[in-house]
Assembly symmetry: C2
Homo-oligomer: 222 residues x 2
């Protein structure tokens, strides 16, 4: 059986979970408290980070970039990058947008400050960072709506890794109730479509220890 | 003709320059002062970041991830990811290591604090960050040496994007003279091999305005 090492509310692990489920690939989940720096885990991934996937063939894959491309190369159909090289580049541009830019400007400031620091006992939340995150998220929701004016999904006509990456990131912020959906009805409608996919259910069922999600978090109608 | 938008000492732009040259693809370079947020550039890449490549077919590719994968898919030979899916995953794991982890732990703290802030007039260098960068770089050079104990190049027997990514990152730190090569002879020997490749010459010839490089920067024997 495949094993995916992940940790609560880690966006890139959530993206890989979605990708595995959308491809119809079975896997076991194993929580890895990366901040404990467990020796056996460091021998799998010296970077000490999740996601890490052990595939059925025994291959150990580390990091969302390596894992997502490996899954597309090894289990191509259904494909979540796109049909031609330019479409695939557009999907990957948006993966970077959400995994790097959104993460830096929004989720690190909100989930990182409010939740990850508490989980790892690594300090007090930083007020200015939280305020920056609450402002920045509007620009990202606007950008999602801008893309959806001309497209069915974020990268084009097909549901892709761009949608999974954005939804995985947003789901962690939504867990703590910091996504202002009511001011962004277009982004909300897109997220509702993703929430109703069977692959998303395991993310909506996840609970971080000691912290219940926002009331609407798991509702497909929210 | 292809055009690559880049800016001085930006590691990911340097990686793409190496990749284009190693693949034998011609291109013009155009400096983009991203912090000026030029409207025409934002219309190419709304993220406002380099690298951005306009290919001969007119396609606009944004971000090192999208560009590097596009170049491998469009101009496959020579290939710099690897022959099989597991080898390719290993290359990509190390691309993440250097573009994300090394960047966060070393180059952002050194080049970011000392050079980028000056270039963008965005504040004073942060002393504790610089000290952290000077400590962290030893761990990364150790890791390079650990990999090279059993391998010819970082990801395996072949020169790959892992080497290009690591060398591009290190070259920016080396420009300001902050790489302690003398304490890491194995990493130094690997970097000397890369410096002697024709593709690396344009990086060694580059000069940032108002800042000469460290004396040994452009020497293949250093």
């Amino acid at each position: 059986m495949r094993t995916l090492f992940h940790v609560w509310l880690q966006p890139q692990s959530r993206k890989i979970r979605l990708l595995l489920l959308e491809k119809g690939l079975d896997f076991d989940l194993q929580i890895e408290k990366t901040w404990e720096r467990r020796t056996d885990f460091l021998s799998l991934n010296p970077a000490g980070e999740v996601p890490v996937l052990i595939d059925t063939n025994g291959a150990v894959l580390s990091g969302a970039y390596a894992i997502s491309e490996y899954l597309e190369e090894s289990y191509g159909q259904p494909d979540f990058l796109g049909r031609d090289v330019v479409q695939r580049a557009e999907t990957r541009r948006l993966v970077t947008w959400f995994d790097i830019k959104f993460s830096r400007e929004v989720s690190d400031n909100l989930v990182g400050e409010k939740m990850v620091k508490r989980l790892q006992r690594s300090g007090e939340p930083n007020g200015p960072a939280i305020r920056a995150g609450l402002i920045n998220i509007h620009y990202h929701l606007d950008y999602i709506e801008f893309l959806l004016e001309k497209r069915n999904w974020l990268a084009g006509e097909e549901f892709s890794q761009a949608d999974m990456t954005a939804a995985a990131q947003l789901s962690t912020v939504d867990y703590i109730g910091d996504v202002p959906w009511d001011k962004h009805p277009g982004a909300k409608a897109w997220y509702a479509r993703i929430k109703s996919r069977p692959s998303f259910k395991s993310l909506l069922d996840e609970r971080m220890p000691g912290q219940y999600p926002a009331k609407h978090y798991a509702n497909v109608d929210f």
